[in-house]
């Protein structure tokens, strides 16, 4: 056993805490440093939490993710000039998956992937926009966006520390949350299409509710003021528990998004990634648009990537991990010896064996292609398969990439 063989030196890092951090620690959460935040990786078992989300409801504290508002008369036009995804046509209550890009001369730098949304317009008709960004990228994304703010007409505010976001995911998730809302709020939540949101009163507290998530399940994400965090979390959990619902840590969130074939920044998606090679072309709209990195993206779109993102089915209990090298099958001997690299890999609890995502030579990307993965001393056979690995039964909206 290598873990804990020697006690690591204590690190004097002060971790950030969400408004639910103490709740997690008091309820068995195994707390770890995640992107500088003290977060639960699991409560009891990643596998149990994963399967509860697939069959019933999982509650996830995703408050570490960055929540920004962009308001003012110029908000919509400014975001349209900054994001890879078309923002101009977005209607109140709509969410879109986008990339946040910067540009050095002719070079693309992907800073993050994000959800951009349009809330209900202000009383005077000016749009109120929102952005949800990854925890580890929040500070640099905020700094980048601030550096590009126009002199007037747009206000950017980071609400991450004064709100919480609770992801309620699974086949019963919408029912659980809608059941906590009075009057017309419940039916309005049930009627939300995928990537749509609304305001509502959840368990007596003002909330923003969106039909979004990062698990491949139906579900919602509920944002409330930090002072209401524990009350809303406990009310949702109390409603979910009789159905088999449970609190889940970030470990299950990672295995769920892997099965759903969703990219994760820092793993699949990197600063110099080709989003078209990753299958994220839908997040890039170049038609008649100019934004940071758009010239480089147009070149990428016109070209043919050397490697593309694929799913690999190992069929084994042994998992491939990020960084493992993919080797070609017999008869395919590239100059460098390897044909790809694993970007995420794990035992997949719903599937019952290991799967992985990898960037692989385009020539080997066809479904059914046999490859091998070098895992420590072993060469593990694997087969290229389509993504996602797991698709939830028909009904509800379709899963889409999130961040």
């Amino acid at each position: 056993m290598s873990e804990s063989a020697t006690s690591p030196l204590p690190r004097p890092t002060i971790l950030r805490e969400t408004a639910l951090c103490r709740w997690h620690a008091a309820h068995g959460g195994r707390m770890v440093d995640f992107a500088g935040w003290n977060m639960p990786v699991q409560y009891t078992s990643i596998v149990d939490e994963h399967l509860a989300t697939r069959s019933s409801v999982g509650l996830f504290d995703v408050s570490h993710m960055g929540r920004l508002s962009v308001t003012g008369p110029g908000a919509l036009a400014w975001l349209e000039s900054m994001l890879t995804r078309k923002v101009a046509g977005i209607v109140p209550g709509q969410f879109r998956y986008t990339l946040v890009t910067a540009d050095a001369p002719a070079t693309l730098v992907i800073l993050d992937d994000a959800l951009v949304s349009r809330d209900t317009d202000a009383a005077d008709g000016t749009p109120r926009m929102g952005l949800v960004v990854n925890a580890g990228n929040r500070e640099r994304v905020v700094a980048w966006l601030r550096s590009r703010l126009p002199a007037s007409g747009v206000e950017l505010v980071d609400h991450t520390l004064d709100t919480v976001m609770i992801a309620v995911q699974g086949p019963s998730a919408v029912d659980v949350v809608a059941g906590l809302c009075p009057g017309g709020d419940g039916p309005r939540i049930r009627a939300l299409g995928n990537y749509r949101g609304t305001t509502a009163t959840v368990a007596g507290h003002a909330a923003a509710v969106s039909r979004t998530g990062y698990t491949g399940e139906d579900g919602v994400e509920v944002t409330v003021a930090a002072k209401d965090a524990v009350a809303v979390w406990e009310a949702i959990l109390a409603a979910a528990a009789p159905l088999g619902g449970r609190p889940c840590g970030l470990g299950a969130r990672d295995t769920l998004r892997l099965e759903a074939g969703m990219p994760l920044y820092g793993h699949e998606l990197l600063p110099h990634s080709d989003p078209f090679a990753l299958g994220l072309g839908l997040a890039v709209n170049l038609e008649g648009r100019t934004f940071p990195g758009s010239v480089a993206l147009a070149t990428m779109k016109a070209g043919k990537p050397a490697r593309v993102r694929v799913g690999l089915d190992l069929g084994s209990k042994r998992s491939a991990r990020e960084g493992n090298v993919v080797l070609g099958g017999a008869g395919y001997t590239p100059a460098g010896g390897d044909v790809g690299v694993v970007t995420s890999g794990s035992f997949a609890p719903t599937i019952g064996h290991a799967v992985a995502m990898a960037m692989i030579d385009t020539a080997l990307a066809a479904e059914g292609t046999a490859v091998e993965i070098a895992i420590r001393d072993a060469r593990q056979p694997a087969r290229v398969v389509g993504l996602p690995f797991h698709r939830r039964p028909a009904g509800g909206g379709k899963p889409a990439a999130g961040g």
């Binding site: 078992s45 990643i46 042994r318 290991a354």
Partner: protein, 128 residues
């Protein structure tokens, strides 16, 4: 519970030598810390190993951990049914959850390992 086993700091336990052979497993603490075990690789019988050398791996959903030989010697038997019933490691760590049997080169090496009280002090000082 067996009171006469010794522990490596890396969480393997080893029994006293009986008929020239000692039994090796991992502690319940280690199993609990890893959780969600999914895969185990065992060494081959007949392999000569040195104390501290990796003799296999245990993989959880989150990570892979090495299994280390607590003493030098020869692997004389492995628990081949274990990889298909990894839950045994946590349920019966000193019984059906044994991992390998080893013929120590120097049985005195076992005495130099941690006794139960010292091991419990070690894990008590570690964050769970």
């Amino acid at each position: 519970m067996q009171q006469d086993v010794r522990f490596a700091k890396s969480h393997e336990w080893i029994s006293p030598v009986v008929g020239g052979v000692a039994t090796v497993g991992i502690s319940a603490y280690a199993v609990e810390a890893l959780t969600d075990l999914v895969f185990m690789q065992l060494p081959t019988v007949g392999r000569k190993v040195k104390a501290g050398e990796s003799i296999g791996e245990i993989e959880s959903v989150k990570a892979v951990s090495d299994l280390y030989a607590p003493v030098s010697g020869e692997i004389v038997e492995v628990n081949t049914s274990l990889p298909d019933q990894l839950e045994t490691l946590g349920k019966d760590p000193f019984g059906a959850g044994w991992i390998v049997k080893i013929r120590p080169d120097q049985p005195a090496e076992i005495e130099a390992l941690l006794d139960r009280a010292a091991y419990e002090a070690l894990i008590g000082s570690q964050p769970h």
